[in-house]
Symmetry: C2
């Protein structure tokens, strides 16, 4: 397979964009990505488009990417529409990478986009509920319709984010029982990410928070307070991929894709590693690198405990030592391995089908030294981890990417 490089990235601010369409958001991100790569849209040879929920929210299924791209004059090229729940955008990136790595195309767009806010909130929550097996979970949808949080910072107490937060609360409690992890550990992670988000103009929430702020926010599902849960949001992110040999035509600072691995959950045998760990191992092997080589990571902190457990699954520390890692400050901006300098899903926001490409965009900027106030000094190797959906206790889809300059 050919070596693949990123030469441009763009994204919208993640936010509640009630007045903007998905087309409008996607256009902004694609325009920015093209501009940053000094590439005209006519140079694009193919596109992979991630979106999780437009079908259920707007009724637009089937050709979501073409509808968005034709509106901005991009036509004729192969367009692959893909969805993998919260990992839809990383899956789109993986396909775009495959197009270039295979030698099939030289200049490929990957875009992730989502418009979750709707005047009728029940639509947003019904869509989120489709990231599980809907036949098995019909009753859960009914509960969700009556217990919603609109993601605003002023939402009232006692509202449930979605049944995903119940899953996360279960995982969190199990980790606390097994390893002595505390809610303060989770609060430290959330405080880190909210504080990082305050340095990121793309973030949905830009208010720095302390551990005390996090613990004082309303309880969603014990031990999760609202600020430990990612909000819903609207937004889009886009990147341009090309072959390593062509990359220098477009930029003096290409970012190389060293590993692109997608996996899904399964019915594990006793002792088998969890899906994120399995996918990460393959990614490290593909890159010829290990967790000790990573300088910066963007991971799927749909909840604060998820980030703590992901530290362990990615090998940033041993199993059970995620709490110690955050206590040591290792994953803070300025620590030895900053995680979610962008603010992560907790503060940057989580427009579902946009998140995976936004993570890649953040690492692109970090490795090029273009991340502004949230820059990780000297970062040369970055990792992204994007997870989505839920089936029988494992994520339905997980994608890990490793990038270097």
């Amino acid at each position: 397979m050919r070596e693949v490089a990123l030469v441009g990235a763009g994204m919208t601010r993640f936010a509640k964009h009630l007045d903007r369409s998905m087309k409008d958001l996607a256009r902004e991100s694609i325009d920015n990505a093209l501009r940053s790569a000094n590439i005209n849209a006519s140079a694009l040879e193919a596109a992979a488009v991630g979106n999780a929920m437009a079908g259920l929210i707007t009724g637009q299924e089937c050709i979501r990417g073409q509808v968005v791209l034709r509106e901005m004059g991009i036509g004729g090229i192969p367009v692959i529409n893909t969805e993998n729940a919260c990992a839809s955008a990383a899956t789109a990136f993986h396909i775009a990478w495959l197009y270039v790595a295979s030698g099939m195309y030289d200049v490929v767009l990957a875009v992730g986009m989502e418009k979750l806010f709707h005047q009728d909130k029940s639509k947003s929550f019904e869509a989120l509920g489709s990231a599980i097996d809907v036949e098995l979970m019909q009753q859960t949808l009914e509960q969700m319709k009556t217990a919603t949080n609109d993601g605003g910072e002023d939402a009232g107490a006692g509202k449930s984010r979605s049944m995903f937060m119940d899953f996360y609360a279960d995982f969190a409690r199990a980790h606390m029982r097994e390893y002595g992890t505390t809610k303060e550990h989770f609060a430290k992670i959330a405080a880190k990410n909210h504080t990082n988000g305050s340095l990121n103009p793309h973030a949905q929430f830009q208010t720095p928070r302390t551990m005390e702020d996090i613990l004082a926010s309303p309880m969603i599902a014990d031990p999760l307070t609202r600020m430990m849960c990612s909000p819903i949001g609207d937004g889009a992110a886009a990147v341009i991929l090309t072959s390593a040999e062509r990359a220098k035509q477009y930029t003096a600072k290409p970012v190389y894709v060293r590993a692109s691995v997608l996996g899904s959950g399964k019915d594990r045998k006793p002792g088998e590693p969890e899906v994120t760990e399995r996918v990460a191992r393959k990614a490290y092997e593909m890159a010829g690198l290990g967790p000790q080589d990573i300088h910066v990571a963007e991971v799927h902190d749909a909840s604060a405990p998820a980030e703590l457990i992901i530290y362990e699954e990615l090998g940033f520390c041993k199993h059970g030592e995620g709490g110690r890692l955050i206590d040591e400050g290792a994953t803070l901006l300025g620590g030895r391995l900053p995680v979610n300098p962008s603010g992560g899903l907790l503060a940057k926001g989580h427009p579902v089908g946009a998140t995976g490409v936004a993570q890649i965009a953040e690492i692109f900027w970090q490795l090029r030294g273009e991340a502004g106030k949230r820059q990780v000094q000297g970062a040369k190797v970055g990792l992204t981890e994007n997870g989505g959906g839920m089936l029988r206790g494992e994520a339905a889809a997980v994608a890990v990417h490793i990038l270097t300059v």
Copy 2:
């Protein structure tokens, strides 16, 4: 890129399967494909899954493939869910091909699946309506809800299949005006496909029809009678891909993928070829073959006039000569270039997200000499053309594949 081979194929009968779930249909097709390849499910390294409309019909979005595969014990592998309207399954096949061609994986499943019939018919038609730009066409959806055809052979006169048939009727009338094509030409094509379908145990309609039968069936949108329009249906199809070098491990009769090309519509400049023609040219170039080399083809006859126009776009004859081609009997079973020996969308049926893989499966059987009563004698080179969606007068997605033994 590596050479890719097909080693197994399976499908359900296409039909109105009101009593069967999409999971159940997909399982049957995958089981059959694995069995025909002598491959255990545990050997699968990745899967690409095409489905167009489950989100709007069943509420299952996001992880459609995982939900189906986990149910049959297939987990852990990368699962790429893709949709491209009526070309969803060919897009899934294209991704599966890319996985093998790139060298990323050796044994990959491509599956297309659709469950369109629903107790509430308005759901089926709303879903079909999402294959266009829904913002622009909201009003058309309203029309469709009041004018439906359930695809049964006994449906009443005057019911409209969907607004796609209005598009097809427009194209048909333009062709008649420009080239002197007649409704009898379209009727001959429909009679051919219904008669072919009568030889195919997988076909939704298995009654042979004459040109007179076709012309006597109820008018849908002049010149289209109901038997010139594909029905809606339920079904699934699956194939197993591997590298050419590994293929002989599994079968003495591998079928090789010589070209896999996807494209989309665009705003054409005057004189530019239409999307199907552009995609076909690239496919011929990739295969190092031309239309004169094709022995059998499965094409997207969503309506009978569509097949006639596709003859021209694929280069089976010159522009304007599609009518002459069917008059000569060239595309009949027994003709020099049989088209849609399976019965095509008109008679085999058109469960949207299953069609593209079912076309590939048919060519697989034809090239291996396993097509029973509908066998094209001596077929060594086959082509499939699968189109989907509509944007500003061109198909939103078209995929052409060329296969050989």
